[in-house]
Amino acid sequence: MYAQMVESGTSDDSAEAEAFQRRIDAGEKIEPKDWMPEGYRKTLIRQIGQHAHSEIVGQLPEGNWITRAPTLERKAILLAKVQDEAGHGLYLYCAAETLGVSRDELTEMLLDGRMKYSSIFNYPTLTWADMGAVGWLVDGAAIMNQVPLQRTSYGPYSRAMIRICKEESFHQRQGFDIMMKMANGTEAQKKMAQDALDRFWYPSLMMFGPSDKDSVHSAQSMAWKIKMNTNDELRQKFVDQTVPQAEYLGLAVPDPDLRWNETKGGYDFSEPDWSEFFEVIKGNGPCNRERLAARNKAWDEGKWVRDAMLAHARKKRAAKMVAE
C-alpha cells in the first residue's frame, strides 16, 4: 500500500494502555491531546509519514506526462489529479504534525532516506497508456486500503482519509477511461495498453506489502485500528475486482496461473516476485535514484523561496508593530 512494511511499536500493560485499548475497541476516536501509548504515536508517525511521502513522490511518475498529454482536456485532468496528490500529501503531513513532528522534519527524513515511500512510484511511466494503468491499477489498489482507513482510530488521520477518498474517487475512473480509449483505439494504442498492464500488474500487487504470514507487525496495528485489513485480504480483493475489468477491456492479465476458484469465491493468482520488491525497497528499483533526486532538487532549490517569504512576512509584521 502507500504505507508498506511500517514497523509497529508495542503497547504496554499499564492501566492507561488498557483504558486506551478499551476506547479503541468501543469505536472511539483518539484525538491529538488524548493520552496514547508511545508505540501508537510512533507507529502512526511512521505510517502517516510514509503515506504522505508516497503522495508527494507519487506526483512524479504522472507529472512526467503532463507536458505530453495528448489533448487539452487530458492535460487538465492529469494536472488536476497530480495537484490532488500534492494536496493529499499536505493533508497527511498536517495529520502527522498533530503527533508532534513537523513537516520539515518528515521531509528531511524522506530526502535522506530514513523514511520510505511506496515501492510503486519507483517504476517508470513510459507511454501514455501508463497514465491509464496508474489511475486504474495504482489508484485502484490505493483506494482498497484508503476506504477502510477512513474508520481508523486516530481522528486527524481518519479525517484526512475521508477528504482524500472523496477527492480521489475520480482518479481511478479517469485511469480506466484512458484505458478504454486505448483498448478500443488503433492497433498501436491497444499494444500500448497491453504493455502498460504487463508492466504495472505485479508492481501493483506488491503495493499491498508482503504476505501476512511474513508480516510480524500487523497484529498490534490492527488492534489499534491503524491497519484495518491484512495485506492478503486486500490483495485478493484487488485481484477479484480488477480481473473482470481487464477482461472488459480485452486485455490479458500477465499471469498464466490466474484462475477463478469456485470454492473460495475468488481468483487464484501468482505472487509477485518478492525479491524484486525487497530490492526496490532497498533503493534498487528502476527509478529510486531519479525520484529522490527530483525531490531533493525541489527542496534545495526552493529554500531561498521559503526563506524569503518568511523574511518578508517578518519585516511586514515588524513594520506594523512600529506603526502601532
Binding site: L72, A76, Q83, G302, K303, A308, M309, H312
Partner: protein, 249 residues
C-alpha cells in the same frame, strides 16, 4: 480573419503559459505554492479551450481547439515571446507570471464589453480567474523582491531578463487597430500607461528596479519570429498527436 488571429493570440498565450507553469507540478518550493501554481495552470488551460474553441468555430474549417493546439507549427503560434520563455528558477517563473497577469487582467476586463458577445462571455469568465492570478503573482513578486538579499538578487535578475519582453504586449498592429475600430477588442497600446504605472508600484514595493531603456523584443504575437524555446515546448506537447496521427485519446 482578424478575429481568428486575435483569438489565437489569446488562446496561444494561455496555452503556452499554462504549459510552462505546469512544468512545476511535483517540483515546487513548497506544497502550498505548488498547488496554487497548478490552479493557475488549470485556469489557463481552461481558458485555452474556450479561446481556441472559439477560434476553430470562427475559422469554419472543421478544426477543433485540440487541432489548433496540437497540430500547428511554430510560425502559426501567436503567443507573446514572454510566455514562451523557460521556467528558470521559481523567481523567474513568478516574475514572468506577474508581468503577464498585470497585462492580462485589464485586457480581459476591457474585452468584457466587446461587441462580439461570444468574446465578451469568455472574457468575463477569464477575468475572474485572472484577477486572482494577479493578486497572487503580485504578492509573491513583492515578497520575493523584499525578502532576503539572495531573493532580491534573483528577482532583480529575473526582471532584467524578462522586462525586454514586456513591451511586445502593447505593440499594436493592423489586427489590433481593425478590432478596436469594430469595438471587438481594445487597442493594447492604450493600456500601456496604466501597465507601466502598476508595474512601477509593484516593483517599488518589491524593492526592485525596472531596467532603463525602451528596447523590446517582438515577433511572438505576430508569429514573425518566435524564440527557439517555443519549438521545444511544442515538440513535447504535440508529440503524441504527431506520432500517432488520427488516434483518439
Amino acid at each position: 480573419m482578424d478575429v481568428f488571429e486575435f483569438l489565437c493570440r489569446m488562446g496561444d498565450n494561455t496555452l503556452v503559459l499554462g504549459s510552462r507553469i505546469s512544468e512545476w507540478c511535483g517540483h515546487g518550493p513548497a506544497l502550498e505554492e505548488e498547488i496554487a501554481l497548478a490552479n493557475t495552470a488549470l485556469d489557463l488551460i481552461g481558458q485555452t479551450q474556450m479561446w481556441l474553441g472559439l477560434a476553430a468555430e470562427v475559422e469554419c474549417r472543421g478544426r477543433t481547439a485540440d487541432d489548433l493546439a496540437m497540430l500547428r507549427d511554430v510560425w502559426d503560434f501567436r503567443n507573446l515571446l514572454l510566455v514562451e520563455q523557460p521556467k528558470g528558477d521559481f523567481g523567474q517563473t513568478m516574475m514572468r507570471q506577474y508581468l503577464f497577469d498585470q497585462f492580462h487582467l485589464p485586457y480581459l476586463e476591457a474585452l468584457v464589453t466587446s461587441s462580439d458577445s461570444r468574446i465578451a462571455g469568455v472574457a468575463a469568465k477569464a477575468a475572474k480567474e485572472a484577477a486572482y492570478h494577479l493578486e497572487r503573482s503580485r504578492m509573491t513578486v513583492i515578497a520575493l523582491g523584499d525578502g532576503t538579499k539572495e531573493s532580491n538578487n534573483r528577482m532583480q535578475a529575473a526582471l532584467d531578463l524578462l522586462w525586454p519582453y514586456a513591451g511586445e504586449m502593447f505593440a499594436s498592429d493592423d489586427v489590433d487597430r481593425s478590432l478596436a475600430k469594430a469595438g471587438i477588442a481594445p487597442d493594447p497600446k492604450d493600456l500601456r500607461a496604466q501597465y507601466l504605472e502598476a508595474v512601477g508600484w509593484t516593483m517599488e514595493e518589491a524593492t526592485l528596479t525596472i531596467p532603463e531603456g525602451q528596447f523590446c523584443h517582438a515577433g511572438g504575437r505576430t508569429g514573425a519570429r518566435h524564440s527557439e524555446h517555443l519549438g521545444h515546448l511544442l515538440s513535447t506537447m504535440q508529440w503524441l498527436q504527431r506520432a500517432y496521427p488520427g488516434a483518439t485519446w
